[in-house]
Every structure is written in C-alpha cells, then in structure tokens.
C-alpha cells in the first residue's frame, strides 16, 4: 500500500482543492454580484468603501484557498487509515519567519488604501450645505440649519400598524415594510453635504448603506459625516445602534433631488408655514419595490398625473404646489397621524378628536405609557390610567405634555398644537379616566 495510496490521495486532494477553489471563486463571484453584498452606493465615499470591502474580501478568499487547501490536502494525505506514518519534525525557523513576514506584507498592502480612504472620509470641511440630524426614541429630526426649518421623520403608519404583535397584517403586503417614513430627508445631488449628527436621549446610529456607512448619534456631542449624492433617488437605511424598545422601527429615508428640484422643495417648505411638503412627485406608488435596496432614478421615471389627490392633513396651498418642481402636486406618502404640523381636522368634535388622539398616543406615547395606559413606572413612565395629572387640572396636564419631565421629552417641541390637544383629550377620556374635556388647539397654543 503506502506509496500508491498516498499518491492517489494526493491526486484526489489536488483535484478536490482545485474544484473547491474554482467553486469558491464562482460562489464568491455570485455573491459579489448579488443583492447580498454591500451596495456600491451613490456617493464617492461609498464607492471607495465598496472597493476596500471587495479588496479585503478577495484577499481573504485567496488566503483561504491556500490555507484551507493545505489543510484539506493534509487531511487526505496523512491518514493513519491509509498507512501514513508520522514524521518527527517540530519546527522550522525559515517557515516560521516566512509566515510571519508574508502576512505583515499583505496587511500593509491592505492598510495603505484603507487609510487613504479613511482620511478622505474624515474630511468634512467646506461643505456646500449642513443638515443637523438628531436621534430620538424613536424618530429622527432633520434640521436645515441654513434654511431655518426642521421636521421629524418616523416610521410610516402602515408599517407601524403591521408591526404590532399579532397585527394580522402580512408585512409582505405593506409596501416598503419598516423601510418607509412619513417625512423623508431631502437633499440635493452633486453637493457636499455635512451631516451633523447628535441625539436627544440615548445613543442612535444613522446608517445609510448607499452613502457608505453610519455615524453614531451621541447625546450631548455632535458627530459629522459628509455625503455627496450622485444619483437622484430614494435611499433607505435604518438606526443601527440599539436604542430601546422600538430600535428596529426607526428607518431612514433620504430623497435626493437635482439641485433645482431641491431648491424648489426648500422654497415650498419655507412657504408652507411649518407643514411638511412631500418631496415625492406623485409617482411614488410606482417605485420602491420592497426587494430593491434603493429606488434609484426615481425622478427620471416621473410621469405625474395632473391634479393628484392631496390627502387630508397635508394641505398644500396652490402657490406651493406651483413652486414644486415641474408643477406636480405634493402628496404625502403615508398616513397623517403624528405629523408634527398636521392641520387640525375640520370638525373639532369629540369623536374625531378622540380618534386622532388615539393615533397620536399610539405613535408617541404608548411605548412608554403602554397601550393600556398603565405605564411602566420602573422606567419612569407613570400610569395615565387614573393618574392625578390626567384627572386633575387641565392646565397642569398641558404643561406636562409641553415641557416633559425626567425621561419624558418636551412634546411641545415635537408635536403640533392640534396633536397635543387631541392626545390630551384622548388621555383624559380613556383608560378609565372620564374628565370629559375637549381640548382645543388654541388652549395648547395659549399655554406655550
């Protein structure tokens, strides 16, 4: 036996090794091209990041083929069952020096381009535009510092509804499930934008794969990253740092528009009197298939029907509509609950206001005070059911919601008068509370 067996085994191992290498390379190619790889993205930095990723990936594949090849060959060639006798060597200075020095060389070769990319990514100086991003449990605030307006961006209502435990709604039936927000961030293409990222409560992380990465939002400190979006489109990401109960439910959507369209949107926002103007041009329904990562070139396929229906709650004046690019009507993509600046329902009667209040409560209050109003006292969220505030003087209740207390945020900075009036009305007439108050937006405005 001996020699021939080992020779055959060696031949088998060689074939296996080659086959394995070929199939590994083939699989790696498939993976690299498929949707289960990093996106190349749409910014200069995201493309560099992608290149660094692919470089180190291929280096690992190559080393893997060599190292695993040798291991597999050893396992086939030196089996006791095939009569292999063990040798007696136990070190080799030359080999040991080689396999210390060669990895060092490979690592240096990878470190140089990675460091160069890193230096470019860190240069956030001389931006054309700065936008401040603030993380909250569980939404984002986008502050256009130079333009003097800001708005909140949170999970769209249809995703939120479907995401409740045993909602009975099939997530696949919800368009862009967990990847859509009520108010996307809007940015111009082709300009260097500095994102100033911070948080108002716990640590979040603003992750947009198509822009090449993420930056943590730390309370009390401001981080920065820069982007230059090359393609108009709709880009989707998510909060990446565990931030509490609804961490998985605070997506990020960025709409990138050509500079002219962007300026028109900014103009409309400035003129809207605090109402969010949708950046979508009516054709959103046709884009955003849930299986693609980015809905690129959305603007290019725009074919806006004239006079698109504007949902209630996001009334946009004809003047603003005219100011929008290409004369398209604005249409918000999602339901109107918890819209910071949503207009009050036309009829301010108990039934309407209670319904609205319930929506506002579900999106903003229930995660801490619980859907049944019993609260979570251990985390500092007292019960609303039969609470002294909800059953006491109205003025104190309004003040508490406006100013917040402890871990409760000052909702006065976040929600509109109408929303606050509605949610207070809801709280005073639910969970076993029967005050009967119907709070009006004017009451809230007066209390500010």
């Amino acid at each position: 036996m001996g020699f021939h067996t080992i020779k055959n085994a060696a031949r088998a191992a060689l074939f296996l090794g080659l086959g394995l290498a070929a199939s590994a390379a083939h699989a790696a190619k498939l993976i690299a091209d498929a949707k289960y790889n990093l996106p190349e993205g749409v910014t200069p930095m995201s493309r560099e990041v992608y290149d660094v990723h692919m470089m180190v990936f291929w280096v690992c594949v190559a080393i893997g083929i060599v190292v695993f090849g040798v291991m597999i060959a050893a396992l086939f060639m030196f089996r006791k069952s095939k009569g292999a006798q063990s040798a007696h060597f136990h070190h080799s200075t030359l080999l040991e020096i080689l396999w210390t020095v060669i990895p060092v060389i490979i690592l240096v070769a990878m470190a140089v381009p990675a460091a160069k990319t890193l230096v470019r990514m860190a240069d956030t100086t001389e931006p054309d535009l700065s936008i401040k991003i603030t993380g909250y449990q569980w939404k984002w605030q986008y502050d256009y510092i130079q333009n003097g307006f800001s708005f909140f961006s949170m999970l769209s209502a249809d995703s939120d509804k479907a995401a409740q435990v045993d909602s009975g709604i099939d997530p696949a039936s919800v368009k862009n499930y967990l990847r859509d927000v009520d108010h996307p961030l809007v940015v111009p293409t082709g300009e260097k934008i500095r994102l100033l990222i911070t948080s108002d409560d716990v640590i979040h992380s603003w992750w947009m794969p198509d822009f090449g990465g993420k930056t943590d939002a730390n309370p009390g400190f401001v981080n920065s990253m820069w982007i230059k979006v090359e393609e108009p489109g709709v880009y989707r990401g998510a909060c990446a740092e565990l931030c509490g109960r609804w961490h998985g439910f605070m997506p990020i959507v960025v709409v990138a528009k050509k500079p002219d369209d962007y300026l028109a949107w900014v103009k409309a926002m400035k003129a809207s009197g605090g109402k969010y103007v949708s950046p979508y041009d009516g054709s959103l329904e046709d884009t955003g298939s849930p299986v693609v990562f980015s809905d690129v070139n959305y603007n290019n396929v725009m074919g806006t029907p004239a006079g698109a229906v504007v949902p209630t709650g996001s009334t946009v004046s004809p003047a603003m509509t005219a100011a929008m690019s290409k004369g398209a009507s604005a249409a918000t993509s999602t339901a109107i609950s918890a819209v910071p600046a949503a207009a009050a329902p036309a009829a301010w009667d108990m039934k309407t206001v209670m319904e609205k209040g319930q929506q506002v409560y579900a999106q903003n209050c229930s995660s801490c005070h619980q859907p049944d109003g019993k609260g979570n006292p251990e985390m500092g969220a007292p019960a609303i059911a039969r609470s002294p505030i909800a059953n006491g003087p109205l003025a104190a209740h309004i003040q508490r919601v406006l100013k917040g207390k402890g871990i409760m945020p000052a909702w006065g900075n976040i929600l509109s008068d109408a929303d606050i009036a509605a949610v207070i009305t809801f709280e005073r007439n639910s969970f076993g509370n029967h005050k009967g108050d119907l709070v009006k937006p004017a009451d809230v405005k007066a209390a500010r």
Binding site: K80, M121, D201, G220, F221, N223, G244
Partner: protein
C-alpha cells in the same frame, strides 16, 4: 471537610457525601465538575433564549414576543453565554486539568476555589430573576451602554450586582490558577515545558485579573450615575456617554481573548494527539499567545469605530487591530504544520478541533475585514458582525470546549463515550451551525442591523434559512447532553492512556484519577516534554 484537611493519611475517605460533598468540596476535580455542569446548564438556558430569538426572526412581523422582551432576550442570551457558559466551562477545564497536567496535588488555594464557584449560582439566579421583576430584565444589550442602560427598571441594581459577583468569581478563579501554575509545577517542569493548555490559561488568568476590575468600575459608575447623582456618562453634567464605551471595551476586548485563548490551548492538545505528531512550533505558539494578549490591551476602540473618534485614533486602532492577524495566523499555520506528515485519525475530539481550525479561521477572516475602518463603517452593528463573533465564539470557543469534553471525558469518568453518537453530534452541529451563521454575513452586508426584532421583507429568505439552522443546531445539542449523561452513568472502561497518541501527565493517571492525585510530585522521567518525541 475537616477530615480531608486534618487526616492526611486517608485522602478522600472521609469527605462528606451527598449534597454536602459538593457544597463543601475543596477538591479541584469536584469543583471542576461543578463548573462544567453549571456551564452546561447555562448553555441550554442561553440557548433556549436564542431559540426564541430565531423563532421571532423566522419571518417578518412580530409574532411571539414584544420588542422589549426581544431586547431582554438578546441581552440575556449574551450575558448568560459569555459569563455563564463559555467562561465557567474554561474555568472548569482549568480546575480539572491544570493540577493533573503539571503534577500538582490540587489547586493552590482550595477554599477560595470553592468560593469562586459557589458565587456563580447566586449571581446567575439574581441575573435571571430580574426577568420576573416589574419592568423586565436588562434590555440594553450585554454591553450595557448608557444612557439606554439607565432606562432599565427595577432590574438595574440587581444586574449590576450580579455582574460584580461574576467578576469577583472570575478574579478569584484567575488568581488561583496563576498561583497554582507558578508554585505547584512538578520539579524541573520549567515554564517553557508546560503543556499549551496550561500556558494559554496562565496568560488568560492575567488578562482576567487585569480587566475584570475595569468592568466592575464601569458598571459601578453606571450605578452612581443612576442613583447617586454623578454624571460620568451624562453630557449635561460634564460627562461623556462615549467614555463608558472606552472603559467597557478596555475590559471587553481582552474579554474576547479570555474566551478564545484557552480554546487555542485545547486545540493545541488535541491536534498533536490525533495527528500522532509533536506540536509544530511550541515556543512560537507560546509567544503568539502572549503577543495576542498584549495586543488585546491596545485595540479596544475597534468596537466603536463609528462612535466619532479623531482620525488619528481610528488609524491607530485600525493598524493595531490588523496586527493581531499576524500572531493568530502563526497559530493557524502551526496547527496546519502539525497535521502535515502526521498519522491522522478522526475521533470526535479531533473532529471538533479540525472544525475549530476551519471555522475559527473564517471568523478570523471576517475579523480582518472588520478591522478595515472604512468598510467597518458599513459592517458595524450589522448582522455581519453578528456572524463574525458567532464564528469566533460558537465554532471557536464552544467547539473547542466540546472537543475538550470528548477528549477528557473518558479520563474524568473512567468510561468511553459513545463514538457513533459523538460523531452524529459533531456532524449535526457543524452542518447546522454554518446554516445558522453563514447567511448572517450576507444579511449584514445587505443592510440588516443587529438587535432588531423585526425586519424588512427583503431579508426574509436568509433569516428563515438561519432560523432553520438555529433550531437544528439547538436540537443537535441534545445529543451532546445525552452523550455526556450516559458516559457519566456508565460505558466501556477507559484505559489510563485513552488515546494512542496522547502525551502528558494526565494520561499517567488511571481513568478516573483518584480523588487525590500527585500527592507526591512526579519524576521528570514520567512527565517528559509533552511536545517532543
């Protein structure tokens, strides 16, 4: 107990029996057994949490648990697996094996040994008990980052106290190991003649002593921030939440190596035995472990590349982190060279060691990828990282522990385990663990963040695949449980030298070894250098 300590002439004859034997024991073999059984129990508790996590993630939408409960499960899964399963398993192996590998009669500090074990059941009862408190258990991740961690309810001080207890237990165990190795080696067994398992534990013990107090400090600062009005981590009071992360990871990165260095030691014992060939590059193996231990203190911030560090900091931590690949590579190459021109057989311990060799290397590759800061801006906090550290900790640390159990179980019990079932356990585990974790690389690259209870529908297929792998990997561990229990209860009689190619002192003792072994030090002729022919 008094009988054991006073009556030196009748070793082991008069120790208490029944439950009191285990509560009062100061015998390293008993305490080793206790650690290992405790670890096995925690492995199944932590594993059951993972099953619920994978079930919730089987498809999009929330089906089983509330998001807050989900966060509790991920947090508890990590705490239990790290502090309850992996670390005590290694300490158990150290207790059983180090004295009989260096020819010592027992651990140097037997009573402290008893305490370091018996703290653990209380610590983990406390920790697990918080899940039943109003407001639930800790849900801010095992890293316990403030300010989120400060939102924990009633559970908060109990979790902190439990972590303190685990830390005290680990430090006591580590001191015991250092003192034992430095003082109780057989005559003429110099440090560079010790078995590698002893070497890796020697270095690990120093890491533990260095960093567990750092963790204790970090969580104590959390405690005072919450209850005593300090502002270590509160920007409004002049503190910085990121400082917590620096302190935590100064503990956390050496902790990662605390969970892998003893695994290196185990694999370095098993591979030469079944390759029937001396370990290649014994000295360089020792120096590689020492280099890794040193580097572990200067790489901590690679866990926080996205936190907003200055460029110089990012570059420093990128370069030092990449450097770790060098000594780690040396180890992998040395093991491969040990296999080369050996005479290999494939018993279950060897299979686990070989799986370690392949799969830990895959974890090493993704580790090098994560070290590249620009790319890490994408990988950080995604499922890519989840895949990476599970390859290192499950197919790395846990597989090495399982290999060690199969390797030494016949020595401990005097019975051979069922080889067929052992092989079934191995192949089921190895196949399904890859189905479980390999797809998670791609989920992360495609944009799925970690620690989320629900996900967009485009991640469905790979999550389903991963969950199926998870359930079957979990079920495979029941084979392990059965094999261990049935081997303890009976089986074919194991000889003193269980494995043909085995070397080292433990194989000179009968299987099972007497309750008190090496009451007189062994001669040099007996122990020989375990890695020289």
């Amino acid at each position: 107990m008094s009988a054991v300590t006073i009556d030196h002439d009748s070793h082991g004859e008069h120790h208490p029996s029944g439950l009191m034997r285990w509560i009062t024991t100061t015998n390293h073999k008993d305490i080793g057994t206790l650690y290992l059984l405790f670890s096995l129990m925690m492995f199944f508790i932590g594993g059951s949490f993972a099953m619920v996590i994978r079930a919730e993630l089987f498809k999009p939408g929330m089906q089983l648990v509330d998001p807050a409960t989900f966060n509790e499960l991920t947090t508890m899964h990590a705490l239990i697996m790290i502090f309850g399963a992996i670390m005590p398993a290694f300490v158990g192996l150290a207790n059983w094996m180090i004295p009989i590998m260096i020819g010592a009669p027992d651990m140097a500090l037997p009573r402290m040994n008893n305490w370091s074990f018996w703290i653990l059941p209380f610590a983990f009862t406390l920790l697990l008990g918080t899940m039943f408190l109003p407001g639930g258990g800790p849900a801010g991740g095992w890293t316990m980052y403030p300010p989120l961690m400060l939102q924990t309810g009633t559970a908060f001080p109990f979790v902190i106290f439990a972590v303190h207890m685990m830390g005290i237990s680990s430090v006591m165990g580590a001191i015991n190991i250092v003192v034992t190795i430095l003082n109780l080696r057989a005559p003429k067994m110099t440090l560079l003649k010790m078995p590698l398992f002893v070497w890796t534990w020697f270095i690990t013990a120093y890491l533990l002593i260095a960093v567990m107090p750092v963790l204790a400090g970090a969580v104590t600062m959390l405690l005072t921030d919450k209850y005593f009005g300090t502002s270590f981590f509160n920007a409004a009071g002049g503190g910085d939440p990121v400082m917590y992360q620096h302190i935590f990871w100064f503990f956390g990165h050496p902790e990662v190596y605390i969970m892998i260095l003893p695994a290196f030691g185990i694999v370095s014992e098993i591979i030469p035995t079944f390759a029937r060939k001396a370990l290649f590059g014994y000295e360089s193996m020792v120096y590689a472990v020492a280099s890794i231990a040193f580097l572990s203190f200067i790489v901590w911030a690679h866990h926080m590349f996205t936190v907003g560090m200055p460029l110089a900091g990012e570059l420093f931590f990128m370069f030092t982190t990449m450097l770790i690949a060098v000594p780690t590579g040396v180890k992998v190459f040395n093991w491969t060279a040990t296999l080369w021109k050996g005479s290999i057989t494939f018993e279950t311990p060897m299979l686990f060691a070989l799986a370690f060799l392949f799969l830990f290397t895959i974890g090493g590759f993704s580790g090098v990828m994560c070290a590249m800061v620009p790319a890490d801006f994408q990988y950080q906090d995604s499922y890519f990282v989840v895949a990476h550290f599970h390859y290192v900790l499950v197919t790395g640390a846990a597989f090495a522990i399982m290999g060690a159990v199969y390797y030494w179980l016949p020595k401990w019990t005097g019975h051979m385990y069922n080889e067929t079932l052992g092989k079934w356990h191995f192949w089921m585990s190895t196949i399904w663990v890859n189905v479980l974790f390999f797809p998670q690389h791609f989920l992360g690259l495609a944009g799925m963040p970690r620690r989320i209870p629900d996900y967009p529908v485009q991640f469905t297929d790979l999550n389903m695949l991963s969950s199926i792998g998870g359930f079957l990997f979990g079920a495979s561990q029941l084979i392990f449980l059965y094999v261990v229990i049935s081997t303890i209860r009976g089986g074919a009689k194991a000889p003193a030298k269980v494995w043909e190619g085995a070397k080292g002192l433990e194989w000179h003792l009968p299987s099972p070894p007497p309750y008190h072994s090496f009451t007189t030090p062994p001669d040099k002729e007996v122990w020989e250098h375990p890695y020289r022919d």
